[in-house]
Subunit: 321 residues, 2 copies
């Protein structure tokens, strides 16, 4: 089995690659080859099978056509322009998040393998005047360009699957926290940095109040769910291949309390509370009363407590001194 | 005020052009110019203002850029590859219904007028495992490529509007009946031809049973609603610019009974009942328990009875001997 991870240089892509390397198989079949693709050369991964690293601009159809080899069995499409950047750079967001998705599906359609395509959507597809709670079949009413592009990706994935061109499955990711590394241009970036930076002994800015509720999942559980997601039997997906990935709703205060419970009281003192209206405008449009019934029924899982998220960061990602 | 009708050669586009000519104004402003654009040269319309007729391939960005003049105030985007054809010709459907819509919005974004864009979506955006009744905010779960493309158009229209690039409003049209002219490649084509052909003294085939329920609107009311739709104050549109256009649900039997009531018993004898599985497969995925609350609150209207639809056909469209 040949697996391709588009966005293989990113946080989730790298962890997914490592998890596949540790596992060695997918969909009851031995993995013989893994391709990590990203806009810049992805970091290498040790694996018991061949790992290729490639660069690709998914907005460019020819680049996608040469990336995806004819014998590819499973394609993870994780690459995206994140929410804050897609809001600022309108054209780039559509080029990558909409046309990039279309280019991948078009190339996948041309393959003889009818590849499984695992697409990461986002809870940013929900918003506006739609009643709580949010269920899998809640009206998609995005209030950001990123959310609109992800909702379009879902429609494309479903239609290409319905026509038999790919075997698609899409998952609306909760906000991933604690993310390792540097802040990015997602409006949700602070939801990791207010934990990560203090855990690393550095200051961080929280642009919202401590009562702000949001829907979270750890990177470790996200990767486990993406592997399970590729393995869901096609016949269990029903008439819509896209669903929420399980997460849990916590307030900022609960995140900080979890950090204190796991790592002691000093870290929280490094958080600076400074309102940022543009960030607040975006994130206040996001929904948090989520009921991911379909993915839970299919075996996907959320974290048990946010203390787990903190522990996973310390175990998996905290830079060693 | 300069008005452009893309799809100005089609049934609704021609009737809309004539209605605007009879009216002379739109959005409290005198119409000074009307452009009718279509893939083939639209038929001329008599009007008290200048009427230009143009050809355009909306799948081609340059063609759209040269079509839409800088001082355009209102754009009606009615052009589409219909449902049956979009299902058979996958690439063409996406080229026209998705990329064509994107091309029009991109050109509109470049104008200084911030044009009003009136987009015709379809009730084909609904489908799959979603409970009745269908409301404006029911999850869009199309089970045809046409429905997927229209749902994508809605997301684009909303996002371009939210960003302030256009003042969009979209209406999910019921099936328009009685359509004049010839059958087209819409899966719903029979829903006009089983009335139109018998009213014209010709035979027609009904591919579904007489209990088949569906959601209908006359061409006359559709055009009235499209004019009202352009005039809805922006602030009344809320956080989603797209809504159902009002219609009414009737069975095939009710359609035929209405024809008999208005035109006598001979016409119904010209209907041949012949099951067509591919048509049935598509139309059985369509929904009919519709609650178009938003558009009704905004002043749009359905027909009073299907006998009205029959009368409108006889008054407006039946070929004169």
């Amino acid at each position: 089995m040949k697996v391709l991870i588009i966005g293989g240089g990113g946080l989730v892509g790298q962890k997914l690659g490592k998890a596949l390397a540790a596992r060695g198989h997918l969909r009851d079949t031995e993995i013989t080859s893994l391709v990590l693709a990203d806009v810049v050369d992805p970091a290498p991964i040790d694996a018991p099978f061949a790992v290729e690293r490639k660069t690709c601009d998914i907005a460019d159809r020819a680049s996608v056509d040469s990336l995806i080899e004819a014998d590819t069995d499973v394609i993870y499409l994780l690459a995206a322009i994140v929410s804050g950047q897609a809001e600022e750079e309108f054209d780039l967001g559509y080029a990558i998040n909409m046309m990039g998705t279309l280019n991948v599906l078009e190339r996948a359609r041309a393959l003889e393998t009818k590849p499984v395509v695992v697409f990461t959507s986002s809870i940013a597809v929900y918003g506006g005047e739609v009643p709580d709670p949010i269920i899998d079949h809640t009206f998609l009413n995005p209030q950001t360009s990123y959310g609109a592009q992800k909702a379009i990706g879902e429609l494309l994935l479903n239609d290409y699957s319905r026509k038999g061109y790919v075997d698609g499955r899409g998952f609306r990711l909760p906000t991933i926290s604690v993310r390792p590394g540097k802040p990015n241009r997602a409006a949700s970036s602070f939801m990791s940095s207010i934990l990560r930076e203090p855990l690393n002994g550095q200051e961080a800015i929280c642009p919202v109040g401590e009562d702000f509720p949001h829907y979270y999942l750890s990177p470790r559980k996200c990767v486990e769910n993406l592997i399970k997601g590729a393995e869901i039997p096609t016949e269990d997906l029903g008439m819509n291949r896209c669903m929420m990935m399980p997460g849990r709703t916590w307030t900022i205060r609960q995140l900080v309390d979890a950090m204190t419970a796991v790592a002691g009281p000093e870290a929280a003192k490094l958080i600076k509370w400074e309102s940022q209206p543009e960030i607040e405008r975006i994130v206040n449009g996001w929904r948090f009363d989520m009921r991911p019934e379909k993915s839970i029924a299919l075996g996907l899982e959320a974290d048990e407590s946010f203390e787990d998220n903190i522990r996973y960061y310390l175990e998996d990602d905290k830079p060693k001194p």
